[in-house]
Subunit: 670 residues, 2 copies
């Protein structure tokens, strides 16, 4: 089942594909589930923990809210999964929230979703990597002081892998996800069974108390409500990535929407089971965790104590300690699935950028694959921003999560609102009463989804804004504005370039006056002269700028000696400039006969090493860039390949990522 | 007397100048002296202080060496001045040490001087600015905590002034130097007169003792000798800049060498008088200064005490305290002349770079003025490196000086050794006994110069290497190696490009096959087609890469509708690349008929804002850069100026620095 990622990308883009490539790559549900679910399922690794971390700000007093908050999250997950099942049926093309919002709420709303999702991909990388590192440190606490470097190394590895293009297969994706799901469910099952048998697992931290944060102790009224809502907002991280399947419908086996919807349901059930299981177990095992280890009472040397993640504490409690096989298995699977989740963002970010570029909201080169830099740029941008966040926030999951959930719920809300509109519009034209009834039900489902996700959006905004969410809002807003102005620019350019009168615009200039720029007499110059002559211009001359009168005289002597039958004109340059006299001369030709066109030939050296470029062509390049501003001029580069150029004329046999995208190797010589 | 700097530059480069510009700009000695002497004379501001700072490492015990060290420095200065008088006579072209070493010791030795001098210019900026800031702080101690920012602001100002080009005149240069010389000599005269009259000036710090540095206390034998030699090395900073006049001979009035030599002598006398005066006065007034204020005994709050420079302490002692007019006058003049000295490096560095570029040791674009970036690059490089040093060394004069003197004495030594060779060679051909005798004397003078400066070079190397001089050595070595390999590259290129058979190399290709690359049908495409047709190719076709089959089909429809009579070829691109299919197609044409040449026309948008470039032409540029590696291809850009391009088509009316160089404004429209 290789070529899956590329395959998804192509289908998402709605492009024609070579039909022979399509055979056999459609996904059965058992592979689609792990491929799309690594991101949403992996969030179980931190969701419960984030709820506890907020609640323990008030000591142990508020921990009894945990089950209620978890229940709310589970309910929310059910709502979102049901809502997205509607999306899957209505928009099987795989455009996801961006498409739904654009189609139903207008391009501006779509763009909001686009901006929010771009920010989200960055946060997926940052949070997943940070949490992965956390779980590795939980298994090997000695690594605690290397948290940030480890996170950056992971980002670096993901970047390298994605830039270089490693063959990915559905199986490679499937294994860690299933290992993780199995491990966590087994852990929950064993733990709860032990509880029922009267031998409940006890976390290593159960014996500690938690000192309340002075600012959050003994809360009443609104303050308490806000704390609980904050904990709920943090728990909503369990929902990140849920919409992934809605982006991947075209990759499913037929009937695509039905299989996708079924997979979504299964994923939802697994996610709910895991989240509920982990949370219950955490309550049963009396897991203690606090934002600052020194708030744990009864801990002897809190300064040097590394708190383990909730998952790690549970695995240790259930499977018999921190050196048991079960513990290491759960930690390894968790870390692996988290890194895999980060990797999905490395696939998704350039892909979304490509769609946005196709809609002319981002520079065109992000759309086409041909440009070697294209996808690399997206990957590097993602890596740099995610790396910077990890560095700035010390790879602290909790701090990073404040920035995360906002984007998710922005796109949920806009998507669900868009769906409501979609059904309303469908109802306007639909006559069949069965379908009308179905559409009405769907509208209610999406309406509930929209109402609840928008409520959560407000809660997240209120409780997280000052804790870092403002940065995510700002980033999305800046992106949104930038994308709008890019679109504006492209639209203006299109209008300016629209053909009005093809015949007149195709009319050739009356004469071509060709000027070959010469600095010295050598092979490159002679080639440029030969080529220029081959274009049969109406007038041909060689022109040199006399930066150095002596050298110019010498050039004329050589010119005559060599018997070159093209006239050489020497332009005076009293101030040792090249660009200005050359430019002035070209413009003077145009002034004399404005209906002619001036063709300027510039011999150029082609070199193989980057630093050699600094030694050549600088004047030529500058002159060329200035000439392009002059109307009625065309500029021809006649290259001379220096020997070293052969070094560089080995274009990468395959574009980066081609392997991963499953493209065959092009025949040599291409 | 304007246009002086540019004038010097041009003459130094040995280029033809417009004769009408030459009139009246030759320098009388009274202006030449201050113009060339701001750098060497300003070093009096720190030379004495640096001697004292080294000696007081051993407390007050070794201060009695001061007069002997000062005497050695004065002797050395006399030797160097006499030696350079010979240079001025023998090499009146103004090439200075670089020319002397290159001509007599070979290009490698010349290049060593070149590298040493480049490093030296950087150090001139760093040391002069740091010392200038020191003297400002001495006048206004409240500024002490802003030392580094102040230094960076000065570097920034000098950079801005030199990038922008401010009109400099000989007078503007002359005034501060004379003010400084007058101030310092008046101070020394008054001080010594008071001493003779029995009322010696007493420095404010005279009452403090100096605790010896534990590492340097009670030295005997070699250790003491080394300390004294270190102090001597530091004192040698008084000699920095002495060779400036030898670079400026062509700017003097006739008889140039004689006037230059006379000016050199006067400068030497003034420098000796100032240095001897300041040093004597410092001994008389019992100035106390230490590398760490807390080594001054009897100082109540040493942590917050800002030591004043020696010049400042003397001015205060002689003129009646730190609020007297004389004190502020001396400090202002000192700071001013030091900044002026830094400015000479801003002129000298790009100039030397230009000479080295002319000799193909540095990229060509540093030589010609035409390229807008040329001189700016040199100025910016100097500013960045000097700024980085000031920042890294906390604008501490003493630390920076360790890096300074080595380059100076490297070029002294090589220059004087070169002169010895020069005279030996002259003696080989000279028959006239009077001249022979004169040459022999000259050879003895330069021989003594070479011996003494090389001895000093060794002393400096030994005593300063571990204190920072290694960095200067390393920088010069890296520069030297880089310049050699640049030269090697240029030489190889020349050899590769040398014309062997002009007739054959001028032979035109048998046919021109023209390909116009098309992405959409718009005005820019039509213009490219029209221009391509005007070059009367043997075969003309439009080519598009079908990144998107639908869009390609659409393009073909539009093409036919518009009735364009150029065939449109659609290249398949199954992997949505642009470059590879286009490149493969061009190469296939060449394979079919290798004697033809392929002319590729690329329509390009010209935009006015930098960010608009990111939105256009990326595929075109990448394709173009790849096409240039293909033999038998020429690439023509047909520009389409978008409306915004008008913004950018206002080339600066004058190149940067043009004003300073005294160039007339070019007529509008150029």
């Amino acid at each position: 089942m290789p070529h899956v990622t590329e395959f998804l990308k192509r289908l998402l883009l709605g492009r024609a594909l070579r039909s022979e490539e399509l055979g056999g790559t459609l996904l059965p549900k058992r592979l689609a589930l792990p491929i799309f679910a690594s991101d949403p399922l992996s969030s179980v690794a931190y969701a419960t923990q984030e709820i506890l971390l907020v609640l323990t700000l008030g000591g142990l007093a508020y921990l009894h809210f945990t089950p209620w908050i978890a229940a709310a999250v589970v309910f929310l997950m059910a709502v979102v999964v049901l809502s997205y099942r509607q999306v899957v049926h209505a928009y099987p093309s795989g455009g996801g929230s961006y498409e739904v919002a654009s189609a139903n709420l207008g391009p501006s709303a779509g763009l909001v979703v686009g901006a929010a999702l771009l920010v989200d991909y960055v946060m997926t990388v940052a949070v997943s990597v940070a949490s992965g590192v956390d779980n590795i440190i939980s298994a090997v606490p000695a690594l605690a002081e290397h948290r940030v470097p480890m996170a950056l190394v992971f980002v670096g590895l993901l970047t390298a892998v994605n830039l270089r293009g490693v063959r990915e297969s559905g199986r490679a994706f499937a294994a860690p996800t299933y290992l993780f799901v199995t491990g966590v469910l087994l852990m929950c099952g064993t733990g709860l069974l032990r509880y029922l048998l009267g031998d409940p697992p006890v976390a290593a931290t159960a014996r500690y108390g938690v000192e309340p944060d002075p600012a959050e102790a003994d809360l009443v009224g609104l303050a308490l409500v806000l704390l609980v809502l904050r904990a709920f907002s943090s728990g909503c991280t369990a929902l990140t990535g849920v919409e992934a399947i809605s982006n991947g419908v075209p990759a499913f086996r037929r009937p695509k929407p039905r299989n996708a919807a079924a997979t979504l349901a299964v994923m939802g059930l697994i996610a709910v089971a895991m989240f509920a299981g982990v949370t219950t177990l955490a309550i049963v095992a009396d897991v203690r965790i606090a934002d600052d280890a020194c708030r744990l009472t009864g801990l002897p040397d809190c300064e040097n104590y590394t708190q383990r993640t909730v998952i790690a504490q549970l695995a240790a409690a259930v499977f018999g300690g921190e050196s048991s096989f079960g513990f290491f298995y759960v930690q390894a699977a968790t870390a692996l699935v988290l890194v895999l989740a980060a990797n999905t963002a490395f696939n998704g970010f350039p892909l979304l950028a490509s769609v946005l570029a196709q809609h002319r909201y981002l520079p065109r080169q992000l759309h086409n694959r041909g440009d070697r830099l294209a996808f690399s740029n997206g990957i590097l941008a993602l890596a740099v921003v995610a790396g910077a966040l990890l560095w700035a926030y010390g790879a602290n999951v909790t701090s990073l999560i404040h920035l995360y959930i906002l984007g998710v719920f922005t796109s949920f809300t806009l998507c669900q609102s868009g769906m409501v509109r979609h059904w309303t519009r469908e109802l306007r034209t639909e006559a069949d009463p069965v379908l009308r009834r179905r559409h009405r039900t769907s509208r209610i489902v999406n309406g509930i989804g929209a109402a609840i996700t928008s409520l959560v959006l407000v809660i997240v905004l209120v409780t997280k804004f000052t804790e870092g969410a403002w940065l995510a809002v700002l980033a999305a807003a800046v992106l949104w504005a930038a994308m709008r102005s890019i679109r504006g620019h492209y639209d203006a350019t299109s209008a300016e370039l629209a053909v009005t009168d093809p015949r007149r615009e195709l009319a050739p200039p009356s004469r071509v006056i060709t000027v070959v720029l010469v600095s010295q007499l050598h092979k490159a110059t002679l080639r440029a002269l030969a080529y220029a002559r081959a274009t049969r211009p109406d007038r041909l001359e060689a022109v040199t700028v006399a930066v150095d009168r002596e050298a110019a005289g010498e050039l004329r002597r050589e010119w005559e000696e060599a018997g070159i039958d093209v006239p050489l004109r020497i332009l005076d340059s009293p101030y040792r400039e090249i660009t200005r006299p050359a430019l002035a001369y070209v413009r003077s030709i145009r002034r004399e006969s404005p209906r002619d066109v001036v063709s300027v030939f510039i011999p150029e050296y082609v070199v193989g090493r980057w630093w050699e470029n600094l030694l050549h062509n600088q004047s030529a390049l500058w002159l060329k860039s200035r000439l392009l501003f002059t109307p009625g001029v065309m500029v021809t580069s006649v290259p001379w390949q220096l020997r070293s150029a052969a070094r560089a004329d080995r274009p990468a046999a395959r574009a980066p990522g081609a392997v991963r995208r499953g493209e065959p190797v092009p025949p040599p010589g291409h």
